[in-house]
């Protein structure tokens, strides 16, 4: 059973139920939820809230775990906020095997370090790549297309991202 003390906040976004947990407790909360029947981790990802003025974010990186109960077909999104350099959170790859690659991808793309992951290496980018492409302060890159409307914005500076 997931105890209420683990839950920091809860709500519904566009029809999807979600709860927020403290990042230290994320693993405990997920393991409790797994016991509650949320057997499937649909996906795990991260959102970089750098310079997002629309809401008040407790930290720069938001980790999301989308869980599904295959019997009742309920879904629940678990959020955890992390900060730091590098941001760290406990790995859940032993609880949910599909998380293994998802965590590697999140490490590759956002630089989140999952403590306890068996093989935290880059998965999509080459092994010697520098930087984490999906961070908002990482430029989109590519080549400048002259006269295109986006051509300045695509090399987004971190402050303006």
């Amino acid at each position: 059973m997931i105890v209420d003390s683990l839950i920091v906040d809860r709500g519904v976004s566009a029809g999807d139920a979600w709860i927020t947990v403290a990042s230290e407790n994320a693993r405990d909360a997920l393991s409790a939820l797994k016991g509650d029947g949320y057997q499937l981790l649909v996906f795990l990802t991260c959102v970089d809230h750098l310079a997002d003025q629309s809401r008040d974010w407790p930290a720069r990186y938001e980790l999301l775990y989308q869980l599904r109960n295959l019997e009742t077909r309920e879904q629940l999104r678990v959020r955890a906020f992390v900060d730091g350099d590098p941001p760290r959170i406990d790995s859940v790859s032993d609880l949910f095997p599909p998380a293994n690659w998802d965590e590697r991808e999140t490490y590759d793309m956002f630089g989140i370090v999952f403590t306890g992951h068996p093989d935290l290496t880059r998965i999509l980018m080459p092994d010697d790549w520098v930087g984490h492409p999906l961070r908002r302060d990482y430029p989109v890159g590519g080549e400048v297309v002259e006269f295109s409307e986006e051509h300045e914005a695509w090399r987004t500076a971190p402050e303006k991202a």
């Binding site: 976004s13 057997q39 629309s54 490490y107 986006e150």
Partner: protein, 416 residues
């Protein structure tokens, strides 16, 4: 280290792939042999790379290495406006573009809080099922050729060509239709499209019989697939497999039935499953799914409602061409839409749809601007590739061809 991770963590982060000599004894006194397949290998279905530890000819360990088709689609989506993202959704799972469009469109519509008219929903179903068919046809053709049945490729691509012609008729494009978009669909179906579809539906069942004649009882095909690549139901669930991988293990989980979207609850179809849990079972599931797709198409075509195919919201969709000539307001809307785009209320949403490969979802975060803050594609192939080691364990190298084939991973979807 410039990646911001700092020195302190380097011990936790491995240095990439190292192929050490295993030194472990094999069954005949030799050592295990590490072999690298791909990324350019005729049997790996695209640019998949596998590192395999072999004992003689038997697979003892297997590690897929992916990323050779990493396109940066998610980053690209952050740099595009809401309506432009549709174009990149086409291209991640390139065998099922309209289904990817659908996932994205449904997600954006949920955030906008709009519902599309019934005719648009029916057209979306038609395009999704056509795509499912064409995607299974590619799978059947290429898997056939890999298992030595080259005729399959010719037969399957003949029908796929018909489907692509229909795509072209309805959207002007053969593969990447970008047909389904937030707020509705690109254009109404032309009478010629409906006619082609009708003919196709009438013809398709006999074509599927033809494929089955070639493969289902074919002794070579059967001996190469039956009992190969077993994935028991429990394992499939734990490893997160979806789509034909899961249903081929006997679990009747189909998002069209379990969590219906786009009016799938109104169609009468069976969820194809097979208890064989092996490559042959997955083959049977896909064949059955093709038959069911034709059934759904028939129902959708017969009951195709009349009416508009787009929501009536000038902030999201451009005004019709005729109006541009008479109304100043329409011109302004048109201009605003194509220079600035529309904004979507802040929030996040996850929508999952059933593609030919399983659950293809789209997770969208909006920060209230005219570009998405984050678009994450939950790729079915990405997850379905992880049970590969479980399935290939203790099989011969030659069986890996069948196993990778029936996993039906589209590398564009895996790497995005």
């Amino acid at each position: 280290m410039a990646d911001g991770a700092g020195e302190s963590v380097s011990s936790e982060i491995g240095q990439g792939i190292t192929i050490a000599k295993t030194g472990e004894p094999g069954a005949f006194g030799g050592e295990l042999l590490t072999i690298n397949f791909g990324p350019h290998h005729p049997s790996t279905h695209g640019v998949l790379r596998l590192i395999v530890d072999l004992d003689g000819e038997q697979v003892r360990r297997l590690k897929p290495v992916i990323g050779y088709l990493h396109t940066g689609i998610e980053k690209q989506a952050e740099a595009l406006r809401w309506q432009q993202v549709v174009v990149v959704t086409d291209r991640h799972d390139y065998l099922s573009p309209p289904i990817n469009n659908l996932a994205y469109a449904l997600a954006v519509e949920r955030l906008l809080g709009v519902d599309v008219p019934p005719r648009a929903e029916a057209l979306r179903v038609i395009m999704s099922e056509l795509t499912r068919l064409s995607s299974h046809l590619v799978w059947l053709g290429t898997s056939g050729i890999e298992l030595g049945a080259s005729t399959m490729l010719m037969y399957c691509f003949r029908e796929r060509d018909t489907i692509l012609d229909m795509n072209e008729e309805i959207s002007g494009f053969r593969m990447h239709t970008s047909y389904i978009r937030p707020g509705g669909v690109m254009a109404d179906a032309t009478p010629r499209f409906l006619e082609m579809l009708d003919r196709f539906i009438a013809k398709m069942p006999s074509n599927i019989d033809e494929y089955e004649d070639l493969l289902t009882m074919n002794p070579i095909f059967r001996s190469r697939t039956i009992g190969i690549g077993r994935l028991p139901a429990e394992d499939a669930k734990v490893l997160g497999a979806t789509g034909p991988m899961l249903r081929g293990s006997g679990v009747a989980w189909d998002l069209r039935r379990s969590m219906p979207y786009s009016g799938y609850e109104n169609y009468d179809f069976e969820v194809a499953t097979s208890d064989l849990c092996d490559c042959y079972g997955r083959y049977l599931v896909r064949i059955k799914e093709m038959r069911e797709a034709v059934k759904i198409l028939r129902q959708a075509l017969d009951r195709l409602p009349d009416g508009p195919v787009n929501i009536d919201d000038r902030k999201v969709l451009p005004p019709p061409r005729e109006e541009l000539e008479t109304s100043m307001e329409a011109v302004i809307h048109h201009f605003k839409l194509f220079t600035e785009g529309y904004t979507v209320p802040p929030g996040d949403v996850y929508v999952a749809v059933e593609s030919g490969r399983g659950e293809n979802g789209c997770y969208v975060v909006s920060d209230g601007t005219h570009k998405p803050r984050r678009v994450k594609f939950r790729a079915a192939s990405f997850v379905n590739l992880q049970p590969l080691e479980r399935m290939a364990m203790n099989h011969m190298v030659a069986d890996m061809v069948a196993i990778i084939g029936t996993a039906d991973a589209v590398l564009g979807d895996v790497d995005r």
